[in-house]
């Protein structure tokens, strides 16, 4: 496929991009795993204070791109990233950039809840402590409580903050991971299928939580549930075989997609 057919359909000139400031700009990004070309000439603007959803069949590159945004792919030896990804105008692949600092600004929540095998309190306190965010013990406690509150978990765990994080239910663990991500004051939160291991009620609580916190963060969510993408996001990007096929306002992506591949995918006609 040549570059011209690879230009994504800017499906409806997304309103959301006009209304919000742009937080992340990707320009001609290519990602390779050894010989495999996982992302091809991807360019996209991602707005601040909104939820952007990445959808597409397995292997389409959506998670790969997500992981490029906080340089998680650095940990994979065969992985090579070219092109520019800018956060607030600063290229995150610059040599002088501190990856640890970047990951404090760009938090991540994974598919399977992965609390540390420590107490609930320590799970949330860990980040602020190593990043030197808390000035005092009282300050740290306040950060933990407010993070747990933002993640709508506090009421359920306030009497057992010393219990192990792993003793919580799956949905609670995931909210604990969100609290942990929030605790270091990130600007961007990346979520890689955050609800796929949860039951519908726990998923609904996460969705509600995303909706509550989206005013303050740039959130990107990778999800296999089209309905979830339609419910929680304002902007949707559809990936296929390493190409960003189409992105636009979520309301329009799910009702009147422009590209036939998008249409086939969201209506369940693929492959």
């Amino acid at each position: 496929m040549d570059a011209s057919t690879r230009t994504p359909t800017l499906s409806h000139n997304p309103r959301i991009l006009a209304e919000r400031e742009t937080k992340i700009v990707a320009h001609d990004v290519n990602v390779y795993y050894g010989e495999k070309h996982a992302i091809k000439d991807l360019s996209i603007d991602i707005p601040d204070r909104a939820v952007s959803a990445f959808i597409g069949p397995s292997g389409c590159g959506k998670s790969t791109f997500l992981r490029s945004i906080n340089r998680m792919n650095d940990t994979i030896p065969s992985c090579r990233v070219t092109g520019d990804i800018l956060v607030d105008g600063k290229n995150i692949y610059d040599r002088d950039l501190d990856v640890v600092q970047l990951r404090a600004r760009v938090g991540m929540v994974f598919q399977k809840p992965n609390p540390f095998p420590k107490s609930i309190f320590e799970n949330v306190a860990y980040g602020p402590r190593i990043h030197g965010i808390a000035k005092s013990k009282a300050d740290l406690e306040e950060i933990v409580v407010s993070s747990l509150k933002k993640a709508s978990l506090f009421d359920e765990v306030k009497d057992r903050l010393d219990h192990s994080g792993t003793s919580l239910s799956g949905g609670q663990q995931q909210r604990l991971c969100i609290a942990r991500a929030i605790a270091v004051n990130p600007e961007i939160i990346l979520m890689d299928e955050p609800c796929s291991a949860l039951d519908p009620i726990a998923s609904a609580r996460i969705e509600e939580l995303i909706d509550e916190i989206r005013q303050n963060y740039c959130i990107i969510i990778v999800t296999h549930s089209m309905q979830q993408a339609a419910r929680v996001s304002q902007l949707t990007a559809f990936f296929h075989l390493g190409d960003l096929v189409e992105f636009g306002d979520t309301d329009e992506m799910f009702t009147t997609p422009k590209d036939k591949r998008t249409q086939d995918y969201i209506t369940g006609r693929f492959g």
Binding site: M226, F254, T255, T267, G268
Partner: protein, 236 residues
């Protein structure tokens, strides 16, 4: 459009479409018979039309149930969702068309033998036009043909124009001979029914356009029905 990965989803949508085709066929038949009944003052045929309306009503319920079930089961998106929503809407229009045909048939009983035949000719002409429009729009639906739907939508003005002239014609008869007021009023209602059927046909056209393009028709529909605003002075 290619098939769904889940084959039974295609079956669900196909059966909706098939039920709607059946409903459309019945509505066409009812309309044809109603016009025939009133033109020939065939009360037996009229009774058959009156009894036949039940089948259309039953189909509307079936379509509604199937639609709700399909939405619940499949969480349809984009064109699939429109397909279902549009099926519900079109079935409602067809149901109304059935009612209007039935109402027209009923009037066969009310207009008596002594009424001059020429009085009915206006209603017959309008009925034929409405019938043709209905047939065309059902074809357009069966083929997802938005262009054809637009043509039908635009040509509704022909029905409106004809309605105006029949309206005036019947008024003239009534002014000439007050004994004609009874039957002419029934005929007037009958022609109004045909005009309404034309309106339901344009609704269906709008829905086909929405189904195909995902947006509403933006142009203004030409309207020629001026009877509601015309002042008829009987003393002149």
């Amino acid at each position: 459009m290619s098939d769904h990965t889940v084959k039974s989803y295609d079956d669900d949508l196909a059966s909706l479409k098939q039920m709607l085709a059946q409903m459309g066929g019945l509505a066409e038949e009812q309309l044809a018979n109603a016009i025939d009944a009133i033109a020939k003052r065939d009360t037996k045929l009229a009774d058959r039309v009156i009894a036949g309306d039940e089948k259309i009503d039953a189909l509307e319920h079936q379509i509604e149930e199937k639609s709700i079930l399909t939405i619940a089961k499949r969480q349809p998106m984009a064109q699939d969702l429109r397909q279902i929503i549009v099926a519900i809407r079109i079935s409602a229009d067809l149901e109304r068309i059935g009612d209007l045909a039935k109402n027209t048939a009923k009037r066969t009983h009310a207009i008596s033998e002594q009424m001059p035949r020429k009085l009915v000719s206006g209603l017959t002409r309008m009925g034929n036009l409405a019938q043709e429009q209905l047939k065309n729009i059902l074809d357009a639906y069966a083929r997802n043909d938005a262009d054809k739907a637009i043509l039908v939508w635009r040509s509704d003005e022909d029905i409106d124009a004809l309605y105006n002239s029949i309206f005036r014609e019947l008024l003239t008869y009534m002014m000439e001979d007050p004994r004609m007021i009874g039957p002419c009023t029934h005929l007037l209602f009958g022609t109004k029914n045909m005009e309404r059927i034309g309106d339901h046909t344009t609704n269906i056209a709008e829905n086909i356009y929405f189904l195909v393009h995902g947006k509403a028709i933006t142009e203004e529909r030409p309207k020629k029905d001026s009877t509601s605003t015309t002042n008829y002075n009987l003393t002149t």
